[in-house]
Point group: C2
Chain length 187, copies 2
DNA sequence: CTCATTCTGGACCAATCGGTCTAGTCCTGT
DNA sequence: ACAGGACTAGACCGATTGGTCCAGAATGAG
């Protein structure tokens, strides 16, 4: 086992991402968070001077980076755009199953709540557009005619599909997405 | 003006639905809720013995009924299923704009948080399937070959579209949904 | 070894949380 | 007129919230 102690800051970010995804920004108290991360309060406010909100932004960014890596890992070795879509949806479905079939989208759970802070909204928008840009890049690479719109569609299907999967407690919906996507516009 | 005083119970449900949609179940305190509804605490616990959670279920149900009426109002006078989809997406876009382009889905904001109560999850599932069943009914009525799957797709597009619209602070995404739907499966 | 900096540990705080409880008001049926 | 249930009003409660603060441990540079 790689029993790496992992620095406190990273431990905070990871557990924050996990807990916020499960219960939402307002559903997680600092005490619960700190005990889960096994860190004292002083460390939190040392690494994140603005406390909970700073940590939430960091956690959402970290989670978003993971998604970007998932997208890249799906499309880079793919033979076609449709092939990448298939792989991505499959990976997301696995992620869903591993998350206990209940957690929400890490970004919306973390940033779409809490203070109706403009910073939160803008950051969420920024992260989402990052996903879409990454998908659009690959769409263009595979010669899809309207990469931006195609990326939008995939994003919408994944978000909506995740929501329905959550309600049904089943990843079947997510696995069926590529078919819907195929019928959409990949000529 | 129809200055109907509206009974306390209904006032509680309506304001609860509104506030939960905006800030999520855990983002709204009883004090804020009660002052917004101009009701004392005693009334809440008279009408909803289990307090906040009972109220949340009632609020989500009320909001869901509104959505069911929106679906019916879109498909009943329609000339075709695709026509109904167009109308529905248009209506939802208007709703989005009227909500200040920030509120979430009333059901997920209210029930997908809070206690990881099984009751909440089941009720959310029940309400969502109600929407889908209603759409599927109209899809069948218009001779769509696979009404259930078509209804699923529309639900997914609306949920995902709403999410993206929220991030972009624009209802354009929602208005563009019918086109994606058309390309999807209506023969 | 020494000193400065970074980081940890946790006591402490006011504010707010959801919830309980009871005294009183209002409304309705008789 | 009066009885009785439906409803309101809000004081009050213990628990928990996010946040502050500082003493001290650990660390790295000279």
């Amino acid at each position: 086992m790689t029993e790496r102690p992992l620095p406190t800051k990273d431990r905070l970010i990871r557990t924050a991402a996990e807990l916020f995804r499960r219960s939402g920004y307002n559903g997680v108290g600092l005490s619960e968070l700190l005990s889960a991360a096994d860190a004292p309060k002083g460390s939190l406010y040392h690494h994140f001077p603005n406390g909970k909100s700073d940590l939430a932004v960091a956690a959402a960014t970290w989670a978003s980076d993971g998604m970007l890596r998932l997208i890249a890992a799906s499309f880079e070795p793919a033979d076609s755009f449709q092939d990448g879509v298939e792989t991505l949806c499959h990976k997301v479905a696995k992620l869903f199953d591993k998350s206990g079939q209940w957690d929400g989208c890490p970004i919306s759970s973390t940033l779409f709540e809490g203070p109706d802070n403009a910073t939160f909204r803008d950051h969420a928008h920024h992260l989402y557009e990052g996903w879409i840009t990454e998908v659009a890049h690959h769409a263009g690479r595979f010669g899809i005619s309207n990469p931006q719109e195609t990326a939008d569609t995939l994003f919408i299907l994944l978000q909506g599909g995740w929501q329905l999967a959550r309600a049904r407690q089943s990843s079947d919906v997510l696995r069926a997405l590529p078919q819907k996507m195929r019928l959409t516009k990949i000529h």
